[in-house]
Symmetry: C2
Subunit: 166 residues, 2 copies
DNA sequence: CATAGCTTTCAGTAAAGACTGAAAGTAGGG
DNA sequence: CCCTACTTTCAGTCTTTACTGAAAGCTATG
C-alpha cells in the first residue's frame, strides 16, 4: 500500500471509529490527520485537507487541545497558530482515559450518591437500595482502578499488569 | 427521598448517562426500569411506563438481550414474553465490557493490521508506520487486559487488582 | 492607534440517528 | 388448520447533533 493511500484510509477509518468512542467523526479525523503529519498544521491546512469549514476546525481543535491530544505550536515569523498531535502513545492513552473517565464515570458516581438516600423499609425499597449500592461499589472500583492507571507510567502498568494477570 | 421518585430519577438519569456510554437513551432507560423492577415486565408494561412505541421497545429490548443485560422470562399461563434484568453486578459489568470491547476495540485492531503494510523507506513512511505500530501495541495490550478481566471472576479481579496497585 | 491577519462565536441549516405505527409475520389453542 | 394474541419489521417522520459561514473579536505590527 502506498503512503498516501494509507494516510487517507487511516484518517477516514479513525473518523468512523470515533463515533463508537463517543467523539465526533471530525474531531477524530483531525486527530488522525495530525497524528500522521510530520509537520505542524494550521487551521487552513486542516480545512483544505478535510474539506470542512473554519468554524468546525476551530471547535474540534479546541476539544482536542482540551483533551491534551493536540498542542498549539508557534512557528517564528508566522502569525497563524499551528498544531501538532501528541505522538507518544502512552500519553495519548492516558489523555483518553482521563477524558472518558470524566465524561462517563463521574456523572454516574454523582447520580448514585444522590440515590442512596431513598427511604422505605419494604422489600421493594430494599431491592432498589441494593441495586444502587452494588452499582456504586463497582463504579468506585472502576474509578479507583482508572485512577491508578493514570497515575503510574503507562508502560510500567501494562507490562506489570499483564505479567501479573496471566 | 421517596422510592417512586428515586426510581424515576434513576431511570431518567441512567438514560441521559447512556448517551455518553454510546448507547441510546431509550435502551438505557429500559435497562434502568428493569433493574429497579421487582417483577418481570412485558413490552406493554414498558411502553406504558416509558411512553414509547411498541417498535422502539422491541428493538431496544433485543439489543439488551444481545448484550445479555436482560433475559426473556416465560410466565406460565401467559402468552406474552416477559423480561428481567440481570441484577448481579459482576455479570452486568462483564457484559458491558464484552460489548464495548467488541464495538470499540475490535474494529480498531482490524484497521491497524491492515495499515502496517504501508511501503516506502523515507522518513515520512517510517513515521507513519511508527504511529500505527505504537497504536497497535497499546490496542493489543488493552485487548489482552480486557480479556483477562472478562475471564476471571469480577470480584476476585477487582479486589486483587486494587490491593496490588495500591 | 489603525489596520491587516488571524481566531472565535453562534444563528441558521444540514446530516445523522432514533422513534413511530401500521402492516406483515409467527405460533399456541381450540 | 384457522383464529387470536402476540412479536417483528421498516418506510416515513421526528429529534438530536454536527457543521457552515458570516460577523464580531482579538492582537501584533507599522
Amino acid at each position: 500500500m502506498q503512503l498516501k493511500e494509507g494516510k487517507e484510509r487511516f484518517i477516514e477509518a479513525w473518523g468512523a471509529l470515533g463515533s463508537s468512542w463517543g467523539i465526533t467523526r471530525t474531531m477524530a479525523q483531525i486527530h488522525a490527520l495530525l497524528l500522521v503529519s510530520t509537520v505542524p498544521l494550521s487551521s487552513d491546512d486542516v480545512m483544505k485537507q478535510l474539506q470542512i469549514s473554519r468554524g468546525n476546525v476551530n471547535t474540534n481543535m479546541r476539544m482536542l487541545v482540551e483533551w491534551t491530544l493536540v498542542h498549539k505550536k508557534l512557528i517564528p515569523g508566522e502569525r497563524k497558530e499551528f498544531f501538532v498531535a501528541e505522538k507518544e502513545m502512552s500519553k495519548v492513552v492516558k489523555s483518553i482515559i482521563i477524558a472518558r473517565r470524566k465524561r462517563e464515570l463521574e456523572p454516574m458516581l454523582r447520580l448514585l450518591d444522590e440515590l442512596t438516600e431513598v427511604g422505605g423499609d419494604n422489600d421493594e425499597a430494599e431491592g432498589f437500595r441494593s441495586v444502587i449500592s452494588d452499582l456504586k461499589l463497582y463504579s468506585n472500583k472502576a474509578d479507583k482502578a482508572l485512577d491508578a492507571l493514570i497515575k503510574v507510567d503507562s508502560n510500567w502498568f501494562f507490562s506489570t499488569f499483564l505479567s501479573f494477570i496471566k
